[in-house]
Symmetry: C2
Subunit: 324 residues, 2 copies
Amino acid sequence: MMRELIEELFLPALKGECACLGSDDSAVLSLAEFSGGRLALTTDTYVVSPVFFPGGNIGDLAVNGTVNDLSMAGARPLYLTAGFVVEEGFPVADLAKILDSMKKAADRADVMIVAGDTKVVEHGKADGIFINTAGAGMVPAGLDITARGLKPGDVLIVSGTIGDHGMAVLSKREGLDFESDIKSDSAPLNGLVADMIAAGDINALRDPTRGGLASTLVEFASESGVGIVIDESSLPVREPVRGACEILGLDPLYVANEGKLVASVPRAAAKTVLAAMRKNAVGRESTIIGEVVAEPAGKVLMKTIIGGTRLVDMLSGEQLPRIC
Amino acid sequence: MMRELIEELFLPALKGECACLGSDDSAVLSLAEFSGGRLALTTDTYVVSPVFFPGGNIGDLAVNGTVNDLSMAGARPLYLTAGFVVEEGFPVADLAKILDSMKKAADRADVMIVAGDTKVVEHGKADGIFINTAGAGMVPAGLDITARGLKPGDVLIVSGTIGDHGMAVLSKREGLDFESDIKSDSAPLNGLVADMIAAGDINALRDPTRGGLASTLVEFASESGVGIVIDESSLPVREPVRGACEILGLDPLYVANEGKLVASVPRAAAKTVLAAMRKNAVGRESTIIGEVVAEPAGKVLMKTIIGGTRLVDMLSGEQLPRIC
């Protein structure tokens, strides 16, 4: 019955705006306006627990996360598919809320959900609801943005505060009372990326999700064969997030974000790109956090607040589970 | 650790042939050779239980199923994404077998797995492994095949025996001893569809998966506003499948297939299309099962073996759970 509810009631609503869709198992879509562009494809399964958290739920997270993965490749996100695994007994009212959030998130990001699938499994064989979203977008001809494009001399810009999403989910999960002060930053970044591309050259983009900003920087350095130096005092962290991290013994550098990006931008373009970012609602708190250097290649160094320098490494222990 | 195993060991192996891929979250792919074509997108999550069954496992099923959904739109399947949810404690050896099957199935269907994601959830929060595959393909310019294209006068062709997949999974699950005689028909249909399109006009295609052949025919009739008359004596069912269905009180017309299609073909093209299908390894047992008529619109009638006529309806009770 739940499968029927989703497939007969909700999927048509999600897919409502795409006149091209019937009950065929595939959506067929024109690419005529993207001649010469390249196709970007991505997938992510969302198993966040709890499914509702301050600032969002699994539904908008699943839309924003996949929109952002496409955006980081310089693609204009166009179409999403949605695959649901629902545990028998999951409240229909919660399902309705989640699907409504997906619809609103898709509208906000200007993407269409064009295909869907639902599987219901017995009680105890899943945990509420898991959502896979795959996404397709087009990279305009001539644009080549990857996570491997950093060049010595680049400036690193982060689009706002870090750690908000991970701490919002964790606070809710653990029932901590600073819960109300911390909200997920879950948001689509495609509009911000479009503004940045219009403003100036971008050498590399990535959204620091699982593993946080630190993991993104370490990957940046190792994949581009460059060094990175960041300034601890420049890292934007909201006070409640910093406080919650201290209580739980976590470093906000390693906590997941779902509406932030890090860009590596040639120094000559940094000022105009930063200005463009700050004009966008999701980039208002954008700030320069460091620079790209030739040596030590593959390493990330942080100038600490107390005046020293320390190596920033990948998270050595276990990552926080089920944050997205 | 399991996530690392998949992401560091297996995903690169799965994606090995696509030189375009790094660790970026999106794959970026050229569509230059498909100028003027339209993009087909589809998604399916596989939760089949048990994950290993005679004739296949969840891995090749996840590849073939999505390849087939694209093929039914007349698309040439090109790229798949794969999203895994793995329960903690799922045997690594089983995972390796599944991923190897996916790789082989992708090679056989000539598609590339270009993006992947893995989430591990706690023991008891999933059931072994769930796999989502989304697929992208290109529909050549000028080709328009849907499930709504049936026309009175068409001939209906099924590409082989029905009920094999559903009964293979069910027999294994229930530990029935005819298990060894029944194998899933899980197979990619894109090569067969290409041969059919080259041979003659195709008005409609669909793969009779969940809900079986009966459900596909009922959807065909209702969506195209035509009548369908099939001949029970023409329906190809293997003896062990027929026997297992009788014992379990199931009708093979409603049992899932994972390597079969139903085509609606203008009568003038039927002979050449059928001949082309029989030359293809997955279509050797193709046969005509009925025809499309103007009236009664929206209904499927079956001439029974004992000489009567009965209405074929959607399955009234619950569908078999977790068959795919």
